[in-house]
């Protein structure tokens, strides 16, 4: 107490300390925001990383005709014309024991399908099919402990004529008696023919020729259920047959003589390889009333004739190889994940997970690559541009992240979400901006001070209403109410406006003393009965209007004009979300309008301007930067609003401005999909990308609002 220097020193010390604390706090907040941004960015970034390819050198095999990789990538089967079926484990490759197969040497091997089922034409001129597998005792991880098994089918007698097999499919029995059946297609003396037989058939197969005028079948493949036969010809035609009727269902042109056919996971997209290395995916799709075979996407060509095609069992990537090169492409994006030169390649295999590629040369040299491409289905193009998806005739902008099956093709276009966000925001602001700004203008410039002291806190309390409550009310109360009385709702504003326009001149004609006593600054109270009257009038008029003009049922009327009506629609959202953003827009606008110096409005009034002219020509323009910033803050709030849109929009990712249907916004989408997104999966990362987008959107909006507010402050300093 006694020493003033000590007190001064202490005050300075405390000052420094508090300054430091405040600085640390501020910097922590900035660091936290940047940290969140970086984390979100880090989670989304792997979407855009290029695939990582690393060569591996697994060793040498007796030169195989075809190989098939085990799911683990640690073991493989190889079909060799002279040595038959071999089982090998990696690394090594170490040959493993297998029971002997059909008599050697074989004349032909039909390469294994995705599950590893292959067909061989053995020395005795008969067909044998086999699906070799590994017996892994109790999930043993060490391939050294595994045992190779291969159960050969009984011999199929192709009959007296030699037959070159092209396609083979085993159709599981229905379970209602009758076992599995086999369907085979092949070339007999250069003529395409097919046959069907029970899996345990013993007699010679009965072949039915399929007419193929002017061309020779080069490759064939059965559809997944073996109901249709796809054939590629030496003249570059693709044909679809319905074998039982022998009918040619449809056809398409390919640029080169076809050399290989294969399927992408799901069996919807047919892969076609050409003799010149061309690579293209085809699909059967309904266009109008007809089903056509059309090109889905062309891929960069390989060098040399395409020898084979193999698909991953996880996603839409597939392997294609020629005698000179090898490539892995993704169907959805059309992106080439791996491309490698490989001289003398004969057989190749893609592991079911798609992360290991093995190729075997005619000399038996094995070449391998590991491929790390965790998000091949996402590219900048699929996120933002219309994309051709399986089953669609036209490029689509669709968000459909998950489907019922594992072979579903995710559709991750962000456009419908961004559109939904903008649409929801647009309808919310359409409702909120006029109400909030004119409300603020009224409150700050016209309302009686007693009324103002009531209105402002009330509106600010509105902001405290949890948005989940608003969303709940909007979705479960408002939406059905609107559906019942949409016509009333639509005609209330015009009715109220016309009533007000009628009432105002009447009000002005009332005796001045009466107005002074009951009216000054309280005109708004007189609007209440007027509005109630308008509401009543609308209620009374609406059924009549609906009957007279809309044919008795407005939804049918809308439907007949091509406008579908959803119960959870943009109007409901606009109303509910508008309700959520009104307080913030109102408060900031009101502050901006009230902070317009009184001297300016006094000057205007003293010039003989009416209060309205003063408000409109002086106060509003002067406060306009503040009002603009209020609108921006409201916009930012509406963009990021989640709960209301989640509960009241129906979350339909459609791209239509129609006010009578819903939308799905970026924020609601995150809330909806996060529980379904496996960690570090593509969807998970795309959701983080949308979060980043949302963050940037609100960040830019709020920063712009803040900058404008700063400029506004400077502008007032001059006054």
């Amino acid at each position: 107490m006694s020493d003033p220097n000590r007190i001064l020193r202490r005050a300075k010390r405390v000052d420094r300390l508090m300054g430091a604390v405040i600085r640390v706090g501020g910097l922590t907040i900035i660091a936290a925001v940047i940290g969140i941004l970086l984390f979100i960015g880090k989670e989304a970034l792997p979407l855009f990383l290029p695939p990582r390819v690393a060569p591996v050198a697994p060793g040498v095999l007796p030169p195989p005709q075809a190989i098939h990789l085990d799911e683990s990538g640690k073991a493989l089967f190889a079909w060799d014309l002279r040595r038959g079926l071999g089982a090998y484990t990696l690394p090594g490759p170490a040959a493993r024991e297998l029971p002997p197969g059909p008599p050697l040497p074989w004349t032909r091997v039909l390469p294994p399908d995705a599950r590893g089922t292959a067909l061989v034409l053995a020395a005795d001129g008969k067909f044998y099919s086999v699906r070799p597998s590994w017996d892994k005792p109790a999930g043993e991880n060490d391939p050294g402990q595994w045992k190779a098994e291969a159960a050969w089918s009984p011999a199929l007698d192709p009959g007296p004529q030699p037959c070159e097999p092209l396609a083979f499919r085993k159709v599981p029995g229905s379970g209602l008696g009758g076992g599995d059946t086999l369907r085979l297609a092949g070339r007999r003396n250069g003529v395409l023919a097919w046959t069907e037989a029970p899996a345990e058939a013993s007699g010679p197969l009965a072949w039915t020729p399929l007419p193929l005028p002017g061309a020779e079948a080069q490759a064939a493949s059965w559809s997944a259920d073996a109901s249709q036969l796809f054939v590629g010809t030496s003249t570059g035609r693709l044909l679809v047959f319905d074998p039982p009727s022998g009918q040619l269902l449809r056809e398409a042109a390919f640029s080169q003589p076809v050399s290989a056919l294969g399927w992408v996971l799901g069996g919807t997209s047919l892969l076609v390889g050409g003799r010149g290395g061309a690579l293209e995916a085809f699909q059967q799709v309904r266009v109008g009333d007809a089903v056509v075979l059309q090109s889905l996407r062309a891929f960069p060509p390989l060098q040399g004739e395409v020898l084979g095609l193999a698909a991953s069992q996880r996603d839409k990537r597939f392997l294609s190889w020629s005698a000179e090169s090898l490539a892995v492409d993704h169907l959805t994006t059309g992106r080439r994940l791996l491309s490698a030169p490989a001289q003398g390649l004969q057989g190749a295999a893609l592991s079911p997970r798609g992360d290991l590629i093995l190729g075997a040369t005619a000399q038996g040299q094995l070449r391998g690559w590991t491929l790390e491409a965790p998000h091949p289905e996402v590219s900048w193009g699929t996120l933002w541009r219309p994309t051709r998806y399986e089953g669609y005739a036209e490029p689509q902008r669709t968000w459909q992240s998950t489907g019922g099956t594992d072979d579903f093709e995710p559709k991750l276009s962000l456009l419908p979400l961004l559109f939904g966000t903008l649409k929801g925001t647009f309808y919310a602001l359409l409702f909120a901006l006029p109400v909030a700004i004119f409300g603020a203008l009224y409150t700050s410039q016209f309302a009686h001070p007693a009324l103002r002291n009531l209105i402002k806190p009330t509106v600010e309390v509105m902001a405290a209403l949890p948005s989940v409550v608003l969303g709940f009310l909007a979705g479960l109360v408002l939406a059905p109410m609107f559906e019942r009385s949409m016509v009333q709702f639509v005609i209330v504003p015009p009715v109220a406006l016309s009533l007000a326009l009628l009432a105002m001149p009447l009000w002005a004609r009332l005796p001045r003393a009466f107005r002074k006593l009951f009216g000054e600054g309280r005109e708004a109270l007189w609007m209440v009965p007027l509005l109630l009257g308008a509401f009543g009038a609308a209620m009374a008029l609406a059924p009549w209007i609906e009957r007279a003009l809309l044919g008795g049922e407005y939804r049918l009327w809308l439907q007949s004009h091509g406008i579908p009506y959803d119960q959870r629609n943009s109007i409901v959202v606009g109303f509910a979300m508008g309700f959520a953003v009104i307080p913030i827009i109102f408060t900031i606008s009101e502050d901006a309008l009230s902070s317009v110096p009184r001297s300016l409005s006094s000057a205007s009034l003293a010039c003989g301007a009416s209060p309205w002219q003063t408000a409109w020509r002086v106060v509003l323009p002067t406060a306009s930067p503040g009002i603009f910033s209020a609108a921006m803050v409201g916009l930012g709030r509406a963009v990021g609003e989640t709960m209301i849109v989640l509960m009241a929009t129906g979350n339909t990712p459609v791209m239509e401005w129609n006010p009578f249907n819903g939308m799905r916004t970026l924020a609601a989408n995150i809330a909806v999909e996060v529980p379904e997104a496996p960690q570090h999966g593509s969807l998970y990362r795309v959701l983080f990308l949308t979060a980043l987008l949302l963050f940037l959107l609100t960040f830019v909006l709020n920063s712009a609002a803040e900058l404008i507010r700063q400029r506004l402050r400077k502008r007032y300093e001059a006054l």
């Binding site: 110096p597 205007s604 003293a606 003989g608 002219q613 001059a718």
Partner: protein, 295 residues
Amino acid sequence: MEIDDPRPVAEPLGRLSAAVGTPPTPQLRLRESPLAITDAAVLGAPPVLEVRNLDLWYGPQQALFGIDLDVRRNSVLALIGPSGCGKSTLLRCLNRMNDLIDGVRIRGQVLLGGEDLYDPAVDVISLRKRMGMVFQKSNPFPKTIYENVAYGLRIQGERDRRVLDEAVERSLQGAGLWEEVRDRLDQSALGLSGGQQQRLCIARALAVRPEVILMDEPCSALDPIATGRIEELIFELKKEFTIVIVTHNMQQAARVSDFTAFFWLGKLVETDVTERMFTNPRQRITEDYITGRFG
């Protein structure tokens, strides 16, 4: 300072005429003033504004007590008195700016050309067009110089560019600002200096050709040179307009006004021709205030 004598003096000055001729109290500063010479024509002019027995309350507190005051055509009336004495309140009664303040109650009459401003039938807005006002702090709108001056006409619905151009030029010339701003009419008024802004506000008030200009301490925020220019301007303006000016500056009141009214605690202590007021006030308290013994 001399007063032309004899001359007709109207009530209430007539009652005070006895005071004329008494030896002037030495007012050295007054003699330096080059401006204020009350001319005889003004003394005989008819009143434009008459305040009759005006009482005013802010809520329960009475701020003006039975004010009676005349403002003669083409004269300058200075309202002086210590802070809070009610002079600004009275000024704002003259164009009903007090209406904007909550809880104000007024009794009595203010007659403009014989018509009571407080008659319920009077339209406040058209009334304010007849009473221009200049405020203590210059308050140009954040618009261009041109739009500031044209504002009064624009709100009356004037769209004719020629009429507006003409009015802007006339008003700016009237306010002595034309030569300074003629090349930058389309620039923001906020870029002008303080004195220029105040003259712009005067030009804005002139544009609608009011009958009376009310000035509420128009120079209190200005430097002496800018103040001097405004004072010259007031001297010019009274040829065309009637001016009521509130001021704290005794010299200013003495320099620019024809008549002076002294207020104290909400009451009009005395009003007189300025020369007489400053040389020979009838009330002791007036003399004390004028000579700076309190204030």
